[in-house]
């Protein structure tokens, strides 16, 4: 098992008090695994259960497989415009 660094923005960054969070991850894991592992990270307790996830600058479904070097972020409800 290794870890990935996940980026946080806006209200999520505020809730956690940081702009990144480190999450355990196993080779071959998918986005759904990342979200499950996230719940075991104490710092993440203030985050919602199932935030939207972006991988490499695009929204990703739970079934999306993660690869080393992917840029991963949690996306709070957007409010542009």
């Amino acid at each position: 098992m290794s870890v990935v660094i996940v980026q946080l923005f806006a209200s999520y960054a505020e809730l956690v008090g940081r702009t990144t969070i480190t999450v355990p991850l196993t080779d071959g894991d998918r986005v759904s695994d990342l979200l499950r592992n996230l719940r075991s990270v104490p710092l993440a307790s203030a985050l919602p259960e199932s935030p939207r996830v972006a991988v490499n600058h695009a929204f990703a479904a739970g079934s999306t497989r993660l690869h080393p070097g992917d840029e991963i972020a949690l996306i709070p409800p957007v409010a542009g415009g």
Binding site: S11, H57, V78, A79
Partner: protein, 149 residues
């Protein structure tokens, strides 16, 4: 011909209209979002816009491309401002140009609706009483939280 960008300076709608207009386009449609003085009855004094910049730029470019393909090759330019904006300042400008009005009108509407749904930009509203809150369009009323500095 089409273009989208996040910008850190005031948006100039007239310049965008000039940019997108061409001799073959008889119709130009524009939408501006501006910082208004109240939200849900609460007096607002300003807004900080932040973005997940690389993704916001990618998503905006995708939306513009979709609009072009859906609406007869309509030319579109979009700028969204990031940073601290005062009341009345323009946060977003979308301009579309086409030979015919339907494509120009539909193009602008598509881009603003998709932008609000998909582009990772957030706003922290500043209220007259000194508090601040992240705007969450998915909830009717926002919990007032302490400011994220």
């Amino acid at each position: 011909m089409s273009r989208s960008a996040l910008v850190d300076r005031p948006i100039d709608p007239a310049a965008l209209i000039d940019e997108i207009s061409s001799p073959g386009c008889g119709a130009v449609s524009l939408f501006l979002g501006t910082v208004r003085d109240t939200n849900e009855g609460e007096p607002v004094t300003g807004i900080d816009y932040t973005a997940y910049r690389a993704m916001a730029e990618a998503e905006l470019a995708k939306i513009v491309d979709e609009a072009m393909r859906r609406f007869g090759g309509v030319a579109v330019v979009v700028e969204h401002r990031i940073g601290t904006l005062a009341l009345g300042e323009i946060s977003v400008a979308i301009v579309a140009a086409h030979a015919h009005r339907a494509a120009a009108l539909d193009g602008v509407r598509y881009v603003i609706e998709e932008l609000k749904r998909r582009v990772p930009i957030w706003k922290l509203e500043h209220y007259a009483d000194g508090t601040r809150a992240w705007v969450d369009p998915t909830t009717a009323h926002r919990p007032r939280v302490s400011a994220y500095q």
